[in-house]
């Protein structure tokens, strides 16, 4: 028979309220900015208990802070994860995830179409610490399966790739991850929980650059790492950081301490403690201001993007548009299934005329801002091959879906007619 149970509040409500009632100390309705490095202990016994994880609470703002916790709890609620850790940037969130799970000799299988910064970390920096990565086509689950070695400890991809806009088959990769007992980490920066929830699709861990759509106004650098709480870290001996005693915290076995939150305990008690890439309270406040309107903003981002995609796809000066909205995009059907409200306010396109046309186009734009970011209220444009992805060689660029003529747009919240007018002017200029 069909059963029906009570549900937690809807995502629109969680975006405004989750993790924060009126401030117990002052009654403040808005999130107070607890701008303090440390928190006074009421007595010596509580101080010792807080240090030894015998009781929860705030000690020092590198480890946790009440304003930052509101952001963490709101993100965990929006993603339906067990908890979250806010970080200094999206890069810090990715590093924290990897450093918590993977050590010397470990291996990551990652999508080839990643944000350039993530590619740098995996391709150039982590090998120096004994961690290797095999890059595979995002949309080919068989290639992911073939790339897994006995040393593989993590699968990593972007829900919608930046800037290639290809769609990660999270259900297929989640099934592969379950079968091989390796967690799947999804960077959901482009989709946000307003468009899709990776844990429901099969991911085990989710990260975001909060700099982008979550905050939404291009004013902060921040990141967040969310744990779905479904992965059994103690099922075998491949995750000793969680299943074996940790000398760095009195021999604590994190998987025994918490059956569902072991990953977050270790990431906070080791990763935040030792690497220190925490989020500042002021940053958390600013991200939360944006997060309250995330569902509203994403709907408008998507609506505007659909109009821009249609305009560019029908324009003679445009050789090709990459966006899952288009039926010829390889991720079209998958995007419809995973992201019925829309998949991406990022799109890429190829100008007829290649690199030189791209330069003219970008310089002729007036309303679009030429800069290295996505997910702002303002519309943005960049030429990835010479900026965000300039360290990649031609083969890696091609694998990431980028050509020398690729232009990336991040569509903002302006009136769509004004955006189309600006694009039309710049396309004319590019053809001269």
């Amino acid at each position: 028979m069909a059963h029906s149970g009570p549900k937690p509040p809807h995502p629109d409500t969680l975006a405004v309220h989750a993790g924060q009632g009126p401030d117990p100390a002052t009654g403040a309705r808005a999130v107070p900015i607890y701008q303090t490095a440390s928190f006074v202990f009421p007595d010596a016994d509580t101080a010792a208990a807080l240090f030894n994880m015998e009781t929860p609470g705030h000690v020092y703002s590198r480890l946790s802070n009440p304003t930052v916790s509101v952001f963490e709890e709101r993100m965990a609620a929006l993603e339906d994860g067990v908890g979250a850790i806010a970080t200094a940037s999206g890069q810090a969130a990715l590093h924290l995830a990897i450093a918590t799970l993977v050590g010397q000799g470990g291996h990551v299988v990652a999508s080839a179409s990643l944000y350039g910064g993530s590619h740098n970390l995996l391709s150039y920096t982590l090998p120096r610490f004994g961690i290797g990565t095999t890059f595979v086509p995002a949309a080919d689950p068989d290639a992911w399966a073939r790339a897994i070695t006995p040393a593989t400890r993590l699968l990593f991809g972007e829900s919608v790739g930046n800037p290639s806009v290809d769609v990660l088959d999270i259900p297929a990769l989640g099934a592969l991850a379950e079968q091989r007992h390796i967690p799947l980490l999804v960077d959901a920066t482009v989709t946000t929980p307003a468009l899709g929830r990776p844990f429901e699709q099969g991911a085990h861990l989710v990260m975001h650059s909060a700099t982008k759509f979550l905050s939404g106004h291009g004013v902060v650098i921040g990141g967040v790492l969310v744990d779905g709480g479904r992965f059994d870290w103690a099922a075998d001996d491949r995750y000793p950081t969680l299943s074996q005693p940790y000398a760095g915290f009195h021999g604590m076995v994190f998987a025994e301490e918490s059956s569902t939150s072991a990953f977050l305990l270790r990431a906070r008690r080791e990763g935040l403690r030792d690497f220190g890439a925490c989020m500042a309270p002021m940053t958390a406040f600013q991200v939360l201001q944006g997060l309250e309107t995330l569902p509203l903003r994403m709907a408008r981002h998507i609506e505007n993007t659909a109009k821009v995609v249609r305009f560019l796809a029908g324009h003679a000066a445009v050789a090709r548009v990459h966006h899952p909205e288009l039926e010829d995009h390889p991720g079209h059907a998958l995007a419809r299934r995973l992201y019925p409200r829309g998949a991406s306010a990022i799109l890429a396109f190829e100008l007829a005329g290649g690199r030189e046309a791209g330069r003219k186009f970008i310089e002729a734009l007036g309303l679009f801002s030429h800069l290295a970011n996505i997910g702002d209220a303002k519309s943005l444009v960049i030429h990835p091959a010479t900026t965000t992805h300039f360290r990649m060689d031609d083969a890696a660029l091609a694998a990431a879906g980028i050509t020398p003529g690729t232009v990336r747009l991040s569509i903002g919240l302006e009136h769509p007619d004004d955006l189309l007018e600006d694009l039309a002017r710049a396309l004319r200029a590019a053809q001269k």
């Binding site: 149970g5 993790g19 994880m53 929860p56 946790s64 709890e73 908890g83 569902t260």
Partner: protein, 263 residues
């Protein structure tokens, strides 16, 4: 660590310290479809403050194999067998929800083995609604929704968490979802069926504490007040929390238990 109890290994979290049966002991018992980790923010403290701590995974729960006990009486037998296996003549018992019934059953049947009795989120009787029982029997996700949403204060997701950075509803639901098929139904059935005569409660001579959540939707405040009134000398403490008080008000629960167990 593991003890062999009624023929099967039984996992017990010992609070991050080696188990020493020479110390005064506390047995923590979790509720329906949960495991030892619900006591994360209380058990570790006592293990570091002079107590031998056993936060068990009941049979077929968490890391303990075996089959679920389908009656509270059977859980009461099992807890005494656990004391025997751990080499403990007696211990303080701290139980939550179904675990509180198991602890109470132990004290009623084996009062000499129980030094103190702390009952959190408890109701006697503990009726479970037909819709909840049916959803659990069918292993429906709706049963997990009921356990999570009713198992916390109303709108708990819209408040700052008792455990910074943790989403209590999701975390609780994920832990329940790990339980093997049929476990929630077995546990809820055991709670629903258990009865005890008021006269038996009136004969209870073990020092008792009842901790009730003012916002408990599962075992309402009135049930806790009623239970405390029927146990001679029982102390009643009410907290601003729902049923999952160990994470909704972890520090208040710890302080309450500390005051009671140290007296």
């Amino acid at each position: 660590m593991h003890f062999i109890v009624e023929g099967y290994p039984a996992y017990a979290y010992t609070g991050g310290r080696d188990f020493d049966p020479a110390l005064p002991a506390i047995v923590f018992i979790h509720g329906a479809a949960f495991d030892h980790s619900v006591w994360q923010w209380q058990s570790r403290y006592f293990a570091h403050h002079g107590y031998a701590v056993i936060a068990v995974d009941l049979p077929a729960h968490g890391r303990s194999p075996g089959s679920a006990r389908t009656a509270i009486e059977a859980l009461g037998h099992w807890t005494v067998a656990l004391l025997d296996a751990a080499g403990l003549e007696r211990a303080a018992f701290v139980g939550h929800s179904m675990g509180a019934l198991a602890a109470l059953q132990t004290a009623l049947e084996h009062p000499a083995r129980v030094t103190k009795l702390a009952l959190l989120g408890a109701a006697v009787p503990m009726p479970v609604g037909d819709a909840f029982l049916a959803a659990a029997r069918d292993d429906s996700p709706a049963a997990l929704d009921m356990e999570a949403v009713w198992g916390h204060a109303r709108l708990v997701a819209l408040e700052q968490s008792g455990v910074p950075g943790t989403a209590l509803l999701s975390a609780s639901r994920r832990l329940n979802a790990r339980a093997r098929p049929g476990i929630l139904a077995a546990d809820l059935g055991a709670c629903n069926a258990w009865r005890v005569a008021d006269a038996a409660l009136a004969r209870l001579a073990v020092p008792a504490l009842v901790v009730a959540g003012k916002r408990d939707q599962m075992t309402p405040l009135k049930a806790g007040q009623s239970l405390a009134a029927r146990i001679p000398g029982a102390k009643l403490v009410t907290l601003d929390a729902g049923h999952a008080m160990m994470v909704e008000a972890p520090r208040a629960v710890l302080a309450t238990l500390r005051d009671f167990l140290r007296d």
